[in-house]
Symmetry: D2
């Protein structure tokens, strides 16, 4: 790995650009290297396609597995689709984040498998903003995965905003891009359904939420972010759920933002580097 | 439960004592009641044995399972024994807490099953302060439980300060009093051995520690306190362990203090009320 | 104070009601007593006016300064008016809280002294929900306090949701009820205008927000709630402001909720008890 | 600043060293640049004096104000002197940190202006470890600054572990190196004496501690670290002080560690960059 930072920063300097931050992470005893740089540059001096090519060449030089460049106000925003079920608090929070400009994404569509959710208020909001909404009720025999795949074909990543269906391995393979899920428990505890109830019955003193990438194994994908809040004997199952809801919203928003800013990198198969 | 608080506070008022705090917890839909009061009183007007009797009578009236009274500067401190293994940081921290007067306990003895720990410095400390130290190495065939039981006979509760042996159900029954354990993970995740390594391999973003009462089922007793700290991809297994060590010390000290102040009550078999 | 808890709990028990929580606070060396109880009762057995009277009588017995009773699903919600200026994030957050039923208040009206705020979206929201909106631009010579006083006459308390005008002592006297303000700094540091800029220039590592009761002295009223967030050299003045905004919303919502649940009591003139 | 990171990393790569982390901070709209790198290298290939020279030359090239290099297991530890007064908890904590190897410093001497502190236990500890202890009682007329200056002449920086004397501008000039102070309040609130009492009287809901560099203006030097803890109406002045003590110890230890790892840089006169 000797010289990667040097090459990257030389490349940036040669284009008269100013580095504002560099994150480097070299795991111990591993032949791996992760880096993220932010710099300010003059688009007139460094055309977008030349920049892409410059970094691709450095990537080749060091046999990099992956190299991504994004120019915030020039590149199109990431396109996402949001999948939700009967609980819509995470969906609503992502929509708010999108509306107030805090989540730098375009929303291709919203898909729900539940007819009670999102509510009329949300459906009207989607209509007003021209975001397609698809109601695809699932049954144990038909997960509607083909249809979903067709609807989300043109997205950059998917957000499971409390989507209560397990996506099959073939769906994951067919989509082939990242899927971010919010789990309402502090993985790896409380996998599976109703983690708040599991936590409540266990008598824990802290509850949490976890955002992670989806993998074929349920609730076991690489963790992106985790948050906790204190609970006590006074908390009821209802207040566990309420506190969980607050954590889920914050945790999901943070993960999406980090992902869009290229801060989240896969590492050792089941871990993440989050710069 | 109608009238318990009334009876308790009437009893205190009749002795001209001033209530400084009352904690009451009534679980929903359960026939249970937990309460803790602090009050300031004049020992001349309310002899210790009369007080004991007064509360015992109220307990009988409401068929209370348990009623405990403690008068801090009058009653003897709780007597404990500390069991440790090769890692002595929790042992040392409890000794510090005892020395600076923050932990209101008397230490009957320290037992270790490991010859490398505690170190000479600690053993001399114990000698200087007249605290008996017993080295009871365990083998897979001999857990020395009979001997331990004899040594801790006269204690009020036991503290497992990273004691790396599972105490048998017959030991628990034989001792018959509370045993507080510090688990270096965020139960119920990472039960069993080497939780820091488990957490590290899982790629979590938060690690934790848990104090709980010991029950025959490993790492499944009622949780008293939990604490967390943030970790990132930059943390190594060593720094996971180091952060865990800090959490363990704080978490154990807090649990012991709460226990001695009668703040910790068992609830629904596997939960605690911590006032 | 001997016997107050006894009397209160006896009163509740005599009506066959079940106490669910009791908070008592007796300051050291002071002749003062603060208490808050929650209980479940049968309205058929304890008519609302009798309950009011029962507690009033106990209050008289102990010469209590103040005694308040609220029955959540029976008593009308507290009526508030919200005053805002050019920044509407706190106003919007209170409206959200009201809409989703989390803030147990009725909103009599919204008053702004700034024509750019709230935006059209908000004004339509107010119209849809039948909440009167008043635009009362202030000048250095005319604070419109008479008009405000007339508009808020029938409220239980006022919320200053980043209202950037100092209310005069005569307004406070004329209104005569509590006014809750959110200050975007960690009082008592950074009083006055632009606390985020003051904090930024000082190079602090933590920024905060404070909710407090309004008194004639600027930013010096009894503190109800404070929250902090970590900042670093990477934070700009803009990100200070953004982090501050998030804190303000949480801090204001928490204070309003606590106030409505009768958790906030004045104490020693310039302090609060928050149960 | 174009090219600094490139030059630094090229220099490191040319010596076959591996960069493990790079921190860069470029303030907006300022002609300033701060950076910190960690790398692993082979001392046989890069002699210590050549390394020093290499970085000095890059510094010259970019007209750097300051450039510091440290090789942990090769360079001598920083030498410090600790000044304390009647409260010795911070002194004791720094000594513990030194003893268990967590604080990478050598302690040249301990100076106290108070005869009740440190206690005999500490003085014996110092004797056992060969750390000179000087008792220099101050009067309003004689701050003993000349003597202190002579004693601390050969240190790299000073630690004021709750030293309750204001060091004069001429002392600061005479010493000419950094002095780290722990202030038991959340600066800029509660400057001056007895900040816990000030905080208590103000009725704050959060108390804090601050480590900062000492400047001639009292309690106004660049802030290195701040920590907070929640307080409530139940806290007494004594518990304010106790919580403050805990914060002070943590906050001071963290600041010393960061300083020794070259993480703390002065910035814009009254601020710090803490990588």
């Amino acid at each position: 790995m000797v010289g990667i930072v040097a090459k990257l920063s030389e490349c940036i300097a040669l284009r008269d650009a100013n580095i504002h931050s560099v994150d480097v992470f070299v795991p111990e005893n591993k032949r791996a290297f992760y880096s993220r740089s932010e710099f300010v540059y003059d688009p007139a001096l460094w055309p977008r396609d030349v920049m892409e090519n410059d970094f691709k060449n450095i990537g080749k030089l060091f046999k990099a597995e992956r190299s991504v460049v994004r120019v915030p106000n020039l590149d199109p925003k990431y396109k996402i689709a949001i999948l939700a079920s009967n609980q819509d608090h995470c969906l609503v929070d992502v929509l708010h984040g999108w509306q107030d400009g805090r989540l730098p994404v375009d929303i291709n569509c919203v898909i729900s498998n539940h007819n009670r959710s999102p509510n009329t208020h949300i459906i009207r909001f989607l209509e007003r903003h021209g975001i397609p909404y698809h109601f695809l009720p699932t049954t144990s025999g038909n997960k509607r995965e083909e249809e979903i795949l067709n609807l989300v074909y043109d997205t950059d990543f998917l957000v499971l905003a409390r989507y209560m269906q397990i996506l099959s391995a073939s769906f994951l393979e067919g989509y082939g891009k990242n899927i971010i899920n919010i789990h309402h428990g502090l993985l790896p505890s409380f996998k599976g359904s109703n983690p708040a109830k599991q936590a409540y019955n266990t008598g824990v003193k802290l509850i949490g939420a976890t955002t992670h990438f989806v993998t074929p194994e349920l609730d076991a994908g690489p963790i992106i972010e985790q948050m906790v809040e204190r609970v006590s004997h006074r908390d009821t199952l209802e207040s566990f759920v309420q506190k969980s809801i607050n954590l889920e919203k914050q945790c999901l928003r943070k993960a999406i933002t980090s992902y869009c800013e290229l801060r989240v990198l896969l590492h050792e198969g089941n871990k993440t580097v989050v710069f």
